[in-house]
Structure formats: C-alpha cells, structure tokens
Symmetry: C2
Subunit: 137 residues, 2 copies
DNA sequence: CACCGATGTAACAATTATAGTTACATTTCG
DNA sequence: CGAAATGTAACTATAATTGTTACATCGGTG
C-alpha cells in the first residue's frame, strides 16, 4: 500500500483532460484524490518538467499540452520515475571472490532490463485517452 | 537502491544449483551476497514455503527441490512477493463524489493488472537455468 | 498600490517496507 | 553433552513516499 505516484499522476491528468483550466487548482485536485494539495503540486511540478502540462504562479490551474490520445502511460511513468531505471533492483556488493557473486550483477542487469522493456512497451501502448474511455464505459 | 529481494533470491538459488548441499549454509551464502546470514535465512524460509528448496534445522545447507530449468523467475517472484499483487499501487481514498475519483480505482486496477500480466509472462519465460547460463557465458 | 488567492519549493514529520542485527529455542551430529 | 546450524522473534537502521507547515513569488482585482 505505497508508491501511488503513477496512479495519482494519472488521476491528475484525467481531471486535467475533463475540466476547464481555471477550475483545476491544486486544492480542487487534492479534493478529488483526497490528499494534501502540496502532494499534488509536487507531482504537477514533475509532470510540467516532462512537458505534459503547463501552469503559472499566480494563475490558477493546469492545462494539458496535448491531446489525451497523445499522452501514453509511459510518458507519465517516465515523468515521475526520476533516476530509477528498473522496478527491480540489484544488491550492490556481492562477493567478487565468488563465481556467482562476481557475475550476478551483470546477469541480473540484463535479465531485469528485459523485464523493464516489456513493462515500458505495455505502458507505451496505453494512452490517457484509454483511461478516460474506461472511466465512463 | 532498495528491494533486492528478487535479486538476492535468485543469487541464493544460483548458489544452490552449483554447490553441494552441505556447503550451502546461510553463513556461506551470506558471504557471497555480502549481507547478514539472517537476511538469507529469512528469504530461504520463504523459498522453502513456496516449495523451491528444502532444509532442516540441525542439518547444514539447502537443496533445490527440482532442476534449475524447472524453476522460472516467476516461481521465485511469487515465492517472495507475499500479498502484493502488482508492482504499481493505487491510492485508497479518492473522492466518490467526483466522477473521476469514483471510477479511477477500478480503471487503474484493470490497467495495472494488464501490466502485471506482461511482467509475469516475461518472468515465466526465464528460468534459473537461463540465469546460470548467463553467469558463465 | 495593497491584498488575496494561487503556484512553486523548502524543510520537516509520519508512515511504510526492506535490510541489518541481536538473541535464542530447537535440531542434528560427533 | 557440546558444537554448529536452522528458524524466528524482536528490535534498530535505512530509504522512499506521503503528509504537513511555512513561505517566497506571481497576477489579478478592488
């Protein structure tokens, strides 16, 4: 029950797709997500840096930069994932004097990289528009 | 830099595939992973519950219950994942009075479930034997 | 121009999960 | 019996996310 960053980001962008800009204050969004408005502003800040939405100090609200059908879940995922490049991580100091310890990192790196690629392909195939469609079906 | 449970579990089972049982004490394994032996025993306990290996109090070592080519990474993943059913989680209390808030959970549930399925398919396609092959190529 | 309401961020506390550690009951074997 | 190991409980440490408080800044409005 943690790391809702992707879920909340999709929630935010869904609201942005369906409401007029001036209504989309961080307080309004926080009311829908039911969290603190700073949590929302932190995420919108990252989504903005990734070019998915625009906003301005002093002016209420946020606005999508492009059509929901042009925003993939991968775009959103990458916007908020920062440095982390795989959902699975690898222990940092296996023993180099052990045959397994010496080679496990590069092996797992390759293995986990392949898994990560399939995750990202799947996320790339879904758009914010797909989410919106599902919301009202 | 956290949650190395899958990586360490694969490390443990790789050692188990390559060494005689009586050498595979939790201390020996901990020396290869470079961690505390209790960390190893905690994981082997879960791998044992999942039927991937055997062990006995008083008798040193662990032993695989079947061939490395018969152990998929999905088997390992499920052995240690416990309750968690998706790599992505969903916020728990969206506002039901909001159209988006009311439907976002079931929508994301379906979406994330699909992603999870692709992850598990990918993990199912890789075996411990594949890891061993890569370790020595 | 001063105020109000909003964004953007910094700083810190709270929560949660994993990793690491200490301790110890229990078991097997010499 | 005594040594060595497994299995587990209990606790601390670390790390990431979430929640909160505070505040600088901007822009529209009276």
């Amino acid at each position: 029950m943690k790391n809702n960053r992707l879920a909340v980001s999709i929630h935010i962008l869904s609201l942005a797709a369906l409401n007029p800009r001036d209504q989309l204050t961080s307080e309004f969004i926080a009311g829908s997500v039911q969290t603190n408005s700073v949590v929302i502003r932190r995420l919108t800040s990252e989504l903005k840096k990734a070019g998915l939405l625009t906003s301005q100090p002093g002016i209420p609200g946020i606005k999508l930069t492009r059509s929901p059908s042009d925003i993939s879940l991968l775009d959103i995922y990458k916007a908020i994932q920062g440095y982390r490049e795989s959902v699975f991580s690898i222990h940092q100091n296996p023993n180099p004097d052990c045959e397994v310890g010496a080679n496990i990192q590069s092996t797992l790196d390759a293995t986990f990289h392949k898994v990560q690629e399939t995750i990202e392909e799947e996320l790339a195939n879904q758009t914010l528009q797909n989410i919106l469609d599902h919301l009202f079906e």
